[in-house]
């Protein structure tokens, strides 16, 4: 079985790993690097629970091979908090109660971070379009939108 030695930078830290060709990026993160904040939801490219940033762009890590990420920069939900201080997007989700069961939350926050990096003042419609690939089965979208709006204000 073909294996590959890859190097990925995750949340600013370099990691080397030996991976099988077919290993999915989400499994590299969760099972080899033990970063279990990234969730596996549908496993069929629908739900966005596994969203991470690949070179700053949100992607579904269940639909990327680990070996495709060789040499790239990854950010997971664990990379949001800095020096014990929550990222404004995390504060937003906390204060606006942007979660119920919390399963979609890591993916929602990663997508939101990428949105706010390219659009400082998104309209409600732009927020809703940006998170349209992330499903919340508690249907808590109203507070998720409020959380992102609050983060946008704090980051402005």
């Amino acid at each position: 079985m073909a294996t590959h030695t890859i190097e990925v930078t995750v949340n600013g830290e370099k990691h080397q790993a030996t991976v099988e060709s077919r290993l999915l990026l989400v499994h590299l993160l969760r099972e080899q690097l033990r970063l279990t904040g990234t969730h596996i939801g549908c496993d069929t490219t629908h739900c966005g629970a596994c969203t991470i940033l690949l070179d700053g762009q949100p992607v579904k890590s269940c639909t990327v091979l680990a070996v495709q990420a060789d040499g790239h920069q990854l950010t997971t939900v664990e990379g949001l908090e800095k020096d014990g201080k929550l990222h404004p997007i995390q504060e937003g989700f906390w204060e606006k109660h942007g979660l119920q069961c919390g399963f979609c939350t890591p993916g929602m926050m990663m997508t939101s971070c990428a949105l706010l990096a390219r659009n400082k003042k998104p309209t409600e419609l732009e927020i809703r379009e940006a998170i349209s690939g992330n499903l919340c089965r508690c249907t808590g979208y109203v507070n998720i939108v409020k959380a992102i709006q609050m983060a946008a204000e704090r980051l402005a």
Binding site: A2, R22, H46, Q57, P58, K60, T63, L65, Q68, G133
Partner: protein, 290 residues
């Protein structure tokens, strides 16, 4: 879900990639954005012994106008089209199309070449490319070959591409004066394939009649369906509502959608008709007509 085992190759040049495809033949698949291929492999609906990742080959991602054509690199991501000022200002039909492909996260990986090469009748680019008269540039062991998109889609998941060819460019003629196009899709939810969708293009003559018309429907048969009879009805006519509606009816009649969870055959045909009217009206407005 874990795909069955395969070998992964990451060629650094087109020549190397084509060499690998020639070597492994039918056992190899091109990995572009992977947003259709990886789900297929994970669900084990498809298998490949070798994946040839073209993501590390430089020079396959671009959007530019040159020599009278819009040229899109085969590996250009859908999100690049979405955020391109050139596409936003000059090719609204392409913007319509890209905004309804899957969802924004998938579009950050998915590529235009992959959307065409996959040959899925549910994909959105094919109908748009049919009405725009696009050409697909395929690179293989003997170099480049230009395939008119009319001759590209052969059947369900089947295209004119040979196993050792890679889609390296998509060419679209630059829009003529007084022309416009539109893509309208009806989907159950964001990210779904079309229940029905229609692409339309219209060029107006100086006297206000239709000089050229394109109309094609998505997910209404084993390939995207170009409605040639409907197009012929439109040419030379004054584009009033009755003319557009009659063409849309002809377009829907020529389709053969399967009944599935998105709806019954008759329902899909009716949706195809409705969407064809809407796409024609939007294209006409963009062409500067009423």
């Amino acid at each position: 879900m874990i795909p069955a085992a395969f070998d992964y190759h990451a060629p650094k040049s087109l020549a190397e990639a084509v060499g690998l495809l020639s070597q492994y033949g039918d056992g190899a698949k091109v990995l572009s954005g992977g947003q259709s291929l990886l789900p297929l492999l994970k669900l084990r609906l498809g298998q490949a012994a070798h994946l040839v990742d073209i993501g590390r080959i430089p020079g396959l991602e671009y959007i530019k106008e040159e020599g009278g054509m819009l040229r899109i690199g085969g590996r250009t991501r859908e999100s690049a089209l979405e955020h391109s000022d050139l596409i936003r200002s000059r090719y609204p039909i392409l913007l319509d199309t890209v905004l309804v492909i899957a969802d924004p996260l998938v579009r950050n990986m998915a590529t235009v070449g992959g959307n065409l090469a996959h040959g899925d009748p549910g994909n959105d680019h094919p109908a748009t490319m049919l009405v725009l008269g696009a050409q697909v540039v395929a690179t293989g062991p003997k170099g480049e070959r230009v395939i008119p998109v009319d001759k590209f889609f052969l059947g369900l998941f089947s295209t004119a591409l040979k196993p050792d060819e890679i889609v390296t460019e998509i060419r679209i003629p630059m829009p003529a004066a007084r022309s416009g196009g539109a893509y309208v899709k009806f989907e159950r939810k964001v990210g779904d394939y079309a229940t029905a969708a229609a692409a339309a293009s219209i060029t107006l003559a100086a006297n206000g009649t239709i000089a050229q018309a394109g109309l094609a429907l998505t997910n209404m048969g084993p390939t995207s369906v170009r409605a040639t009879a409907a197009e012929q009805q439109l040419v030379g006519k004054k584009p009033d509502a009755a003319v557009l509606e009659s063409a849309a009816r002809a377009a829907a009649q020529a389709t053969s959608p399967n009944a599935d969870r998105r709806g019954a055959t008759d329902y899909k045909k009716e949706m195809g008709r409705v969407l064809a009217v809407r796409a024609l009206k939007k294209a006409l407005a963009r062409a500067g007509g009423n």
